[in-house]
């Protein structure tokens, strides 16, 4: 099937851009433009989603993308990813270990007592899903007073800046597979190379890390409901700020250049017999992580990581275990682009479809005569 270029519509397209701008500003004199910091802070979870799906940790520009796309998550991520494609790659960071994350939340569904303790942090997990009608008419004074009151009543006890991993204690008991100690291959860079299957686990992790939350959730949910057998337990879910360390250009000493808010999840899954019959069986593991605070995405990714490991090793028995099925369908910008292209003029191809249908109808009528 070929595509035929069209022309015309320039004025209408400009008018459509104006119409969209009018939609954004239609409150007129009674409205205030959204400021970037308000989007970043008050639309926190939406903002996190754009940062991870755009694949670029740039809080200011992610907020701008949300503003200009009127809150459309796919368009906002697209704009952020388009921006990144215009910038030069300066370097790859050294390998970072997430044990140094400055946590704001840390929970485990495996053990109630974990080394360092569990901290709920900011979460809706235990909230009643009742609409808070008082927010309909929240005044600036009420809004500003909340933070002031909460800050005044915070405890002052000492908390360490980082915590040990729950997996480390399970590993010490011999319940987990050994970590890969061998010389490790350079990770796959999905921004530079196309996915050609079979792909490495690093390609799968990178693809899912910037995948669309809903797509990852949908495929992981299929596994949870029975099209798969991961049966995960969250060993640890952590949200926090990872300090980014780069060598100082002159001294070479590792120096913090900033920090990245991220979510990380490790799931422990069904144990399995080891390939080596003399080795003891261990639990299996799944891992998920993404920029920003997005727990559903990290958990879904961890489940899919485990499912894909099984598929890569033994062959896929379910869609969630098939690397090609999962990894080629979780990118929001790819899939949105394909869905949206159906809105574009297909006049010539559709004309051809109609011609073929009419010819087929005529042949069928002729055969009945």
């Amino acid at each position: 099937m070929g595509y035929v270029a069209i022309k015309g519509g320039g004025r209408a397209i400009e008018g459509a851009a104006d119409a969209l701008e009018l939609l954004r500003t239609q409150q007129g004199e009674s409205g205030q433009p959204l400021d970037i910091e308000t989007i970043e802070k008050q639309l926190y979870f939406l903002h996190s989603r754009i940062i991870s799906e755009g694949g670029l940790y740039h809080p200011k520009l992610a907020a701008l993308a949300i503003k200009q796309s009127l809150g459309d998550t796919l368009e906002a991520s697209f704009a952020l990813r388009a921006y990144r494609s215009t910038k030069p790659r300066l370097l790859e960071t050294p390998e970072h270990d997430t044990t140094n994350m400055r946590l704001v939340r840390r929970i485990s569904a495996s053990f109630k007592d974990i080394p360092g303790g569990q901290m709920l942090g900011p979460t809706t997990d235990y909230a009643l899903r009742l609409l808070r009608m008082e927010l309909l008419n929240e005044s600036p004074a009420q809004f500003q007073n909340i933070a002031k009151t909460l800050f005044a009543n915070l405890p002052t006890q000492t908390i360490p800046d980082s915590f040990p991993k729950v997996l480390d204690s399970l590993r010490a008991e011999g319940l987990l597979p050994k970590v890969n100690q061998a010389a490790r291959e350079q990770p796959f860079d999905i921004t530079r190379e196309p996915l050609v299957f079979p792909v490495s686990r690093s390609a799968a992790l990178a693809t899912m890390a910037r995948g669309e939350t809903g797509s990852l959730l949908a495929i992981a949910y299929s596994n949870m409901r029975g099209y798969g057998d991961v049966h995960p337990t969250v060993a640890e879910l952590r949200v926090g700020y990872l300090p980014i360390m780069l060598p100082h250009p002159i001294t070479g000493e590792l120096t913090e250049v900033g920090e990245v808010l991220m979510t990380e999840c490790e799931v422990v899954a069904m144990y399995q017999d080891n390939d080596n019959k003399n080795a003891i069986p261990t639990f299996t593991l799944g891992y998920g992580a993404c920029f920003g605070h997005n727990e559903v995405k990290a958990i879904s990714m961890a489940i899919l990581d485990r499912a894909l490991q099984k598929g890569m090793k033994d062959g896929a028995e379910n869609p969630s275990e098939d690397p090609e099925f999962v990894l080629l369908h979780v990118d929001g910008i790819d899939s949105m682009g394909f869905a949206s292209h159906y809105k574009m003029p297909h006049y010539v191809t559709f004309q051809s479809d109609m011609d073929r249908l009419r010819t087929t109808q005529q042949k069928q009528e002729a055969s009945h005569e």
């Binding site: 694949g55 910038k87 400055r102 840390r106 908390i159 100690q181 860079d189 002159i250």
Partner: protein, 153 residues
């Protein structure tokens, strides 16, 4: 000078570019500043190690600015400084590289810059204390509910 060099840039970066350059304009008005490497703004790919199997992978990209400069003072002596930051403000990264040179070699006026370092570190410390306080406030001690106990914190 108690705050180590590795913390200077991130501490000063908490202040606005205008504040930093206002100080530098006074300190460095008679110096010649030339780049050792052209200042750059772009992206860095963040490499992580997954905690399940220790496999390296790329989480995504971060903005990055870097600068490396030489300062030539009135007495024709050269001093170098450099900085890197998760940012895309070229003016700021150039200023931070100059600050690095001034602080490292304790050139004239370094104390005014060191004051900025202290202010910045205090802000960063306060931010971390707030995070830790929120952690402490939400520390949970789940207990198994038995027939004889009431569920209560």
């Amino acid at each position: 000078m108690n705050i180590p060099r590795r913390d200077w840039s991130k501490a000063i970066a908490t202040q606005s570019t205008q504040q930093i350059t206002a100080i530098l304009n006074v300190i460095a008005q008679n110096w010649t500043i030339t780049p050792v490497q052209l200042p750059q703004t772009g992206l860095a790919m963040l490499k992580l190690r997954d905690s399940a199997f220790n496999d390296p992978y790329f989480l995504g990209e971060i903005p990055l600015a870097s600068a490396w400069v030489t300062i030539r003072t009135e007495d024709n002596l050269d001093y170098q400084g450099a900085a890197q930051l998760m940012d895309d403000d070229q003016g700021k990264i150039e200023a931070l590289a100059v600050c690095d040179a001034i602080l490292t070699h304790q050139l004239t006026g370094w104390l005014a810059l060191y004051k900025l370092v202290e202010i910045g570190m205090a802000e960063l410390t306060k931010e971390q204390q707030l995070r830790n306080a929120l952690l402490a406030k939400t520390r949970v001690d789940f207990a198994l509910l038995t027939a004889t106990e009431q569920d209560d914190d």
